[in-house]
Symmetry: C2
Subunit: 194 residues, 2 copies
């Protein structure tokens, strides 16, 4: 069996940056704070990220991309019916949000909004993450028998709606927007089965 390697410094830095940027945004997160939270020194951060804060932002977004993709893939594989699976994903997001006392919403949307049009590297990483998530949904729908164009269109709305519902749920400190969004997405997808 493989050993579970204890996280190296670089890993701890990326993890801390990702979490802090999720909660406070990109501009609201300081490099010194990241170093402190990661039990690393400022020198170590700049050793691993000579590109400075922007490079750290890119790594944080890429890390969050993989993390949410894992959650999404797990949700999609847990139920045979993709329409039901997506509602389950919304419920999981609602639970995680409530359990974090409404702190942990989408891990990249704050960073996305603050840096759009101002930090091309981060912008690209964000665009890639959203595309990645849409592809997971579209692939699942295609495998379930949906025609190509319906699968693609629905993948757009699934990700958009989950994204928006997570934002409004966080702001309202209520699970309702996510639960209702899950229900409506199931209904929308099912409406294409006729």
């Amino acid at each position: 069996m493989a050993n579970t390697p204890q996280p190296g410094t670089r890993e701890r830095i990326v993890h801390a940056a990702s979490l802090l940027m999720q909660r406070q945004g990109y501009e609201g997160t300081g490099i010194k704070q990241v170093a402190q939270e990661a039990n690393a020194t400022l020198g170590s951060v700049y050793h691993f990220f000579p590109g400075g804060k922007q490079a750290l932002g890119v790594a944080a977004v890429e890390h969050a991309d993989q993390e949410f993709a894992g959650l999404l893939a797990k949700s999609l594989s847990e139920e045979a019916d993709p329409a039901q699976a997506i509602a389950g994903c919304a419920r999981t997001l609602a639970r995680l949000l409530r359990d974090s006392e409404w702190m942990d919403g989408c891990p990249i949307s704050a960073t996305a909004l603050e840096t759009t049009g101002r930090a091309p590297d981060i912008e690209q990483a964000v665009a890639q993450a959203f595309q990645h998530w849409r592809d997971l949904v579209a692939d699942t729908l295609r495998e379930a028998g949906f025609p190509e164009d319906e699968a693609r269109d629905l993948s757009h709305t699934v990700i958009s709606t989950l994204e928006g519902a997570e934002l409004t749920a966080q702001v309202a400190r209520s699970e309702t927007p996510l639960i209702v969004a899950g229900k409506h997405l199931t209904r929308l997808i099912d409406s294409y089965k006729h």
Copy 2:
């Protein structure tokens, strides 16, 4: 006929703060930058907002609330069928986003995400704005004959989906997410007519 009063200093400051926070977020926007953009001095900003940056943030969010509510109300009144009206609203948002070269997305979401759990006054103004927008949608649906619970649930998903689609459209620099979201929202609302 009423004169069109030229905007006073306070108005110019709020307008500039709202626009800059929409594009750069709350943390990414400096008070000095707001003053400069509003053709005001730093002293004037603190004269009108003794509460400092947080108070300015609250005023900016409240201003954006009214602004988007106006756009939404106009869209909802332009078509007799609310399901069609919402698709029209999505198209308008897509056009505004493209025309601003992908800079002007939702005016409060960046500020919302950065300040949640950290600036109670702003948080409350944001929550109020979302509630306001949902109410406009719910009222329209109720007037169109939808039962109370369906109208309320749909208003959640309409705002969540528009919000998420605006975010993903901005990131992808594409009108597609908003156009597709509008189409799917129409379909979802129509599915409750049977």
